[in-house]
Each structure stands twice: as structure tokens, then as C-alpha cells.
Symmetry: C2
Subunit: 207 residues, 2 copies
């Protein structure tokens, strides 16, 4: 069920949530007011449930965080595994993982937004940061391979180039809204277009 | 005084803060644990002050937020005004504001980090978001002008191109650490290099 459909279901009357809906709405509340500032009472109020009814769906606030972060990370890791399995050439792998990451962000915007705001304030957050770091290192290795293969310029350090490319991708959590005029496919093309070709119109070497 | 110097001063003994130091340390705490989740008592504990001693320096938690956001926004707006005053050609203005924004982020990392996390949960936050939006619109106008002047490719919408370029710039708040091996000038060059020329090594038209 989409977020809109979930909220419509809530508006229709006394809510009968499934676990996934509870988690989706909770993650949105975390993103709106901050995870640490959100109490179980806040969640119950937002959902129109008593605290004990809420505990019927989820064990704790921490469990919601863990599930949402795992959801985002598993999807990103899956896209990366897919990119590695689908291509042997590093530049093709890079194109694949950038497009895959944009697709994951568009499909799981609340979960990825939450992931990107994690600061390491608990064991759950630290474990998520560690997985994110490992993901970053694997993508950096692809960029480094593409430089070694001569497909990418190597006058920018691979780790900096990776962080800047994913700076573009991750900025989507700040401004992309699903269902708007720009599709995820188009966004992936735009990110790759800038990352690989740049926006300069002057012929190469003249700028 | 730098952040490190401030914290060293704190470690040296009973702290005698000035207002700016109090604000700097408070903003770092907001960034670590979330503004909404940070109480005045948390701030006082972090600073090793009583609450009443803290109130000698600042009127309220909200006042710290307002001052820090204004500091970040004024610096960014100043860099933009400078870019417009220094150049008549749009592409030069764009180069100037990207380099200027990177310099502001590097110089005021805690304040800009706080600004980028603002969600609009109070009048102060909403006013900051409005100023940020106005800044974005002014930069988008520069990108649009550069497209109209033929310096930038126009097959990516100016607002999307602007957001992606500033996605790279703003990602610095996530990974740049002052005093590290990469200087702000070099970072600005790297961002502009990717934004304008891209990383593809193949001659233009062959990729």
C-alpha cells in the first residue's frame, strides 16, 4: 500500500493497520520531527491507537528503526549485487548501481531518508552506519576500477568522486516527490549525464 | 575560535565561554542528537554550566537556532551577492557561487549542517526554509541564464541541474572534515569539474 493510500485508510475511520503500514507512518513521523524526539506516545497519537494497540503491531520504537533501516540497506545492497552480477566492465557496473540507487530512493523514500539521517546514537544506528560504509567502499572500488580501465578520469580521487556522485543521488531525499513530473528513470539519466558528461556545452578541451 | 580550540578550552577547566562558543557547541549537540531532542538541560550539561549560567549567554534554545541558521544563510546569501556583483556572464557567476558555497560549508560546517536538517517544525525553521528556497531560486536563475547563453547544456531542467549540483555541494556536510587532506578549494574544483566536464574519459560524442 502506498503512503497516500495508507493515510487515506487512516482518514476513513478507525484504523486497522498491518505491521508494514504502522512502520511506514512511524518512519514518516521520525523524518518529520526526528527519531530521538519521537516518543511511542507520539506514534500512538499519530496512528490513532492506544499504546498497547501499537505494541500489538511492533515491539518497540527501536524495532521500527531497525526494520526501516534494514529495508533501505537491503534494497541498496541488492541493487549493488545486481550491478556486479549483470556486468563485467566497471563503468557499466557504475551506471547500473547509480540507476539502481535512484530507483531504490524513489521506491523507499521514507526509509532511505531515515537512513541518511542516522548519526550513530545507538547500536542499531551504528550497525546501519557500518553497512552504509561498506556499501560506499564497494561503490568506490567500482569507481576505482573504472578509472583503472581508463573509462573514468582519474584526476579526482575515487572516494571523492563516489561521494559527490552519491551526493547527487542522495539529494533526491530532499526534493524528489513520487508522482511528480520527473520520473526516477529520467532522474537516473540526469545524474549519470552530469557525472559522466558534465553540463558544459563547449567542446572538450576548450572549457 | 575554532571548534577544536573551543573544546580544548572546555577541557582545560571550568569553562568561561563567550556567546559564540556557547552557540558553536550547542549547534554541534543539535547536529549529534537532533534539535528537537535536545533540551536546555542537555545543553547545560554538555557545557558544564548551570541552566541559569547558560541563560546568561543565550536567551533560549530557539535563539541559538535562530542565530546559527541566520549565520549559515547570511554567509550563503553573501557569497551569492558576491558572485552576481563580480561577474556579468552567467557561467562565471555559477562557478563563483559553487566555489563560494563550498567555502561557506567548509568554514561554517556545524551551522550549515543544522540548516540542511531543518524540517519546518517552528516559525524559525519555516523562515529559514523560505530563505533557503529563495537562495535556490536565485541560483536556478543563474543556471537558466547560463543555458540561455549557450554555456550550459539545456537538456536537463535548470531546477534539476541546480539541485543536483548543490546535492554534491551539500553532501560535504556528511563527509568533509576540516583539516583533512582535501582542501575546500580542491573540493570546489572537483564539484565544478564533475558538474561541467563530467568524469567520462571518452571524447565527447563517443560516450
Amino acid at each position: 500500500m502506498t503512503v497516500d493510500a495508507t493515510q487515506a485508510a487512516v482518514r476513513r475511520g478507525r484504523p486497522g493497520y498491518d505491521r508494514e503500514q504502522v512502520i511506514t507512518i512511524a518512519v514518516q513521523l521520525f523524518n518529520d520531527q526526528g527519531y530521538d524526539a519521537t516518543s511511542v506516545a507520539d506514534l500512538a497519537t499519530k496512528l490513532g491507537l492506544t499504546k498497547s494497540a501499537l505494541y500489538h503491531h511492533v515491539e518497540s520504537k527501536e524495532a521500527i528503526l531497525r526494520v526501516a533501516l534494514d529495508d533501505a540497506l537491503s534494497a541498496l545492497e541488492g541493487a549493488l549485487d545486481e550491478a556486479l552480477a549483470a556486468h563485467d566492465v566497471a563503468i557499466d557496473r557504475l551506471r547500473h548501481i547509480v540507476a539502481g540507487a535512484v530507483a531504490v530512493l524513489a521506491a523507499k523514500l521514507p526509509q532511505v531518508t531515515l537512513l541518511l539521517r542516522v548519526r550513530g546514537n545507538s547500536d542499531i544506528e551504528r550497525a546501519a552506519l557500518e553497512r552504509r560504509r561498506s556499501f560506499d567502499h564497494r561503490v568506490t572500488a567500482i569507481v576505482r576500477d573504472a578509472q583503472a580501465e581508463g573509462a573514468l578520469a582519474d584526476d579526482i580521487e575515487a572516494s571523492v568522486a563516489t561521494r559527490l556522485i552519491f551526493g547527487m543521488v542522495n539529494s533526491l531525499t530532499e526534493w524528489y516527490r513520487p508522482g511528480g513530473p520527473v520520473t526516477p528513470d529520467r532522474l537516473a539519466d540526469d545524474v549519470l549525464r552530469i557525472a559522466l558528461d558534465g553540463l558544459d556545452r563547449a567542446p572538450r578541451g576548450e572549457s
